[in-house]
Amino acid sequence: MLGRGVKRKWSCLEELEAEAAPAAVTEEKQQQQQQRAEGEEDGGEDEGGLPAAPPKSETSHLQQRQLVLGLCLEKLQHYQAGVELSLRRSVLLVNTLRQIQEDMRSDGPGTCVHPDSCLLRGDLRRDMPVTCPGCAEGVGGHLPLSSPPEFPPQEADGSHDPQKSLPAAAAATATATATISAFSDAVNAMGYLGDLALDDIFEDIDTSMYETSDLPSAWPTGSPWPVGVSLWADEDVKLRAAGHGSSSGSLQSCLLDLNELDHIMEILVQS
């Protein structure tokens, strides 16, 4: 069973603070804790209140970046059926995402980055390799965009290495982006299975609902993101040609398709 997104709780913010390097326990933080103890009448966090901000340091900058990245993706994924997404909100979220990407890019190759950030690179710069050069630390060579260890052993093409070298903070945000990871896994799996006769596998599965022109063509090229998917619908064009279906639809239909691809993958790897 491939992982799903997990709702982030307040405790995760505090976890991040706890995992911060010992140097991060500064006088400032101690002061803040003192003030909170003095200032709060209830002794606990009020409904609608806020936890203390993490102290500023290089580590916490990376942690905050990871946190914001995870939240961003979570917010973009979350939608209510039947309610239209706010375009302003979506645009601001995507711009934040892009800014985080730029920030990660400017870190340079030495830094170990989360595979989901590589996914984002692939999203906006399709000429960049799908692999994650920054994850070479301690492993050597390239790591493909792979899942947490529960990915089934069938993908034994040799290039799939467990991510032991990732920092704990990065792993903490992995579950928040599991749906997108799952999709990229599907991509890699299909890459491996690509030389098999696809028809044989899909023989007994009715895929008439999932037939789109763009998705299958994107997979062999290794792009993790279907060509032509926009995060928001071009709403002026109300009528779409048959066959373009989900790939040029809204975020909602894109995510629905991701869920359906999950389902296909489950069937594939279990058979």
Binding site: R8, L13, Q31, Q32, Q35, R36, E38, G39, E40, E41, E45, D46, E47, G48, G49, L50, P51, A52, A53, P54, Q64, R65, L67, V68, L71, K75, G82, V83, E84, S86, L87, R88, R89, V91, L92, V94, N95, T96, Q99, I100, D103, S230, L231, W232, A233, D234, E235, D236, K238
Partner: protein, 445 residues
């Protein structure tokens, strides 16, 4: 104790709305607007209703009880709709109300939800005709042949009846969500703005509108900026401004071209590099823009501040007021709970000397431009005794919390004041909490 505007002190006057804490979603107030004389105060809510209050002009010899606002008219402006093509609901929530200047006995206002603008006529009826001799007792029309005399009906007084009727419906012109409407000073046209476009309408014509701004990119994937608010200049009927999610304001002149994609002026303040964070863009997004009454300045509201711009200077605002700077260190948490996307409005007082905007914990802030003073006040049921003077509130950002101060971590972020309005002439303000409308007035010494 002196406050903004010299020795002015604010007192509680009235509160409208349900008392219980369990807020019905439909009762959430979504817009507040005084008319041009201040006699009428309109509110719109999430349930699509408009409630208009009218000021009862009390005896002027009793200064302490100047005037009360009582319900004048209530009507259902918008109903929920369903877009079958996209399988999406169109909310009936009233996003904005704007009054038209009064031309005759009736009052007119524009109200809008996400997609449709409506022109409503509010008229009074206090007389009815009586004395027709055309009907029988039971209501059947008499046979004309039996009528031998002509009786002219007489108008007799009746209880005041206020009727609201929709006179125009301006529909199907917006693909995206309407965020602003603004009536032009020519009293013939008005603009409506959604996330990507601004349209110009004639008040009389509903089947046509002119698109005057279009920032939609050819490829939607290149979209990085949306329109957040728009307003006509109060005196120059050819000039309007629109603000963006990137913190810029563009002033456009409709005489220059039919499509005002090229701005006449671009107002933007360079970012302070020391304040740069992942949230910089989100907090720079402008949630409201309002011209001053004299037309020389405009005010913008972003997440943390209010800025006053001189229309003749584009590179920076002339005044900047911090609304709740103590939230700057909490942006990550506010991002998590979505509060960072809240859209606060702002308003000017009648002579442009004081500006007001809302904050969290049911606090609202006033900035006196002339005296360089500011005050934080609270709208709450606890301070709701008649003519009770509002005590200034203070938020403790860090360090030792003094008595009567409230610490940042104790603020209730579910209690937000997004909508405020100031009477066009007097010192009377309307402040909307989630589902209550508070009316405060200054204490006459």
């Amino acid at each position: 104790m002196a406050g903004p505007g010299g020795d002015m002190q604010w007192c509680f006057s009235q509160v409208k709305g349900a008392i219980d804490d369990d807020v019905a979603e439909a009762d959430i107030i979504s817009t507040v607007e005084f008319n041009h004389t201040g006699e009428l105060l309109a509110t719109g809510d999430k349930g699509g209703r408009v409630v208009i209050f009218q000021q009862e002009i009390e005896n002027k010899n009793l200064p302490q009880f100047r005037s009360e606002y009582n319900v004048y008219s209530t009507f259902q402006s918008h109903e929920p709709e369903f877009d079958y093509l996209k399988s999406l609901e169109i909310e009936e929530k009233i996003n904005k109300i704007r009054w038209l200047p009064q031309k005759n006995a009736a009052q007119f206002l524009l109200s809008t939800n996400d997609k449709t603008i409506k022109l409503w006529k509010i008229s009074e009826r206090d007389k009815r005709p009586e004395g027709y001799n055309l009907k029988e007792e039971d209501g059947r029309y008499k046979d004309p042949n039996t009528i031998t005399a002509l009786r002219v009906p007489v108008l007799i007084p009746m209880d005041l009846m206020v009727e609201a009727s929709p006179r125009r419906v301006f529909a199907n012109a917006h693909t995206y969500h309407i965020n602003s409407i603004s009536v032009n000073s020519d009293n013939e046209t008005y603009l409506s703005a959604d996330d990507l476009r601004v349209n110009l309408w004639n008040l009389e014509i509903t089947d046509r509108s002119f698109n005057i701004v279009d920032i939609k990119p050819a490829n939607m994937e290149e979209l990085t900026e949306v329109i957040t608010a728009a307003e006509f200049h109060p005196h120059q009927c050819n000039t309007f401004v629109y603000s963006s999610s990137k913190g810029t304001i563009r002033l456009c002149d409709m005489r220059a071209s039919a499509l005002c994609d090229k701005h006449s002026k671009l107002f933007e303040e360079p970012e302070d590099p020391s304040n740069r964070s992942f949230f910089s863009e989100i907090i720079s997004s402008i949630s409201d823009v309002k011209f001053s009454h004299n037309g020389r300045y405009m005010m913008t509201r972003d997440y943390l501040s209010v800025k006053i711009w001189d229309l003749n200077m584009e590179n920076r605002p002339v005044e900047t007021y911090q609304v709740h700077e103590y939230l700057r260190s909490k942006l990550c948490s506010l991002y998590e709970n979505d509060c960072i996307f809240d859209k606060f409005e702002c308003c000017w007082n009648g002579n442009d000397s004081v500006v007001m905007t809302g904050s969290y914990n049911n606090f609202f802030r006033m900035f006196d431009r002339g005296h360089r003073r500011d005050v934080t006040l609270e709208a709450s049921r606890e301070n709701s005794k008649p003519m009770q003077v509002l005590k200034p509130r203070k938020v403790c950002a860090g360090g030792k919390r003094k008595k009567d101060e409230i610490s940042v971590d104790s603020l209730d972020f579910n209690k937000k004041i997004l909508h405020t309005a100031w009477h066009p002439q007097d010192n009377i303000i309307a402040v909307a909490t989630t589902n209550n409308l508070y009316i405060f007035q200054d204490k006459v010494n």
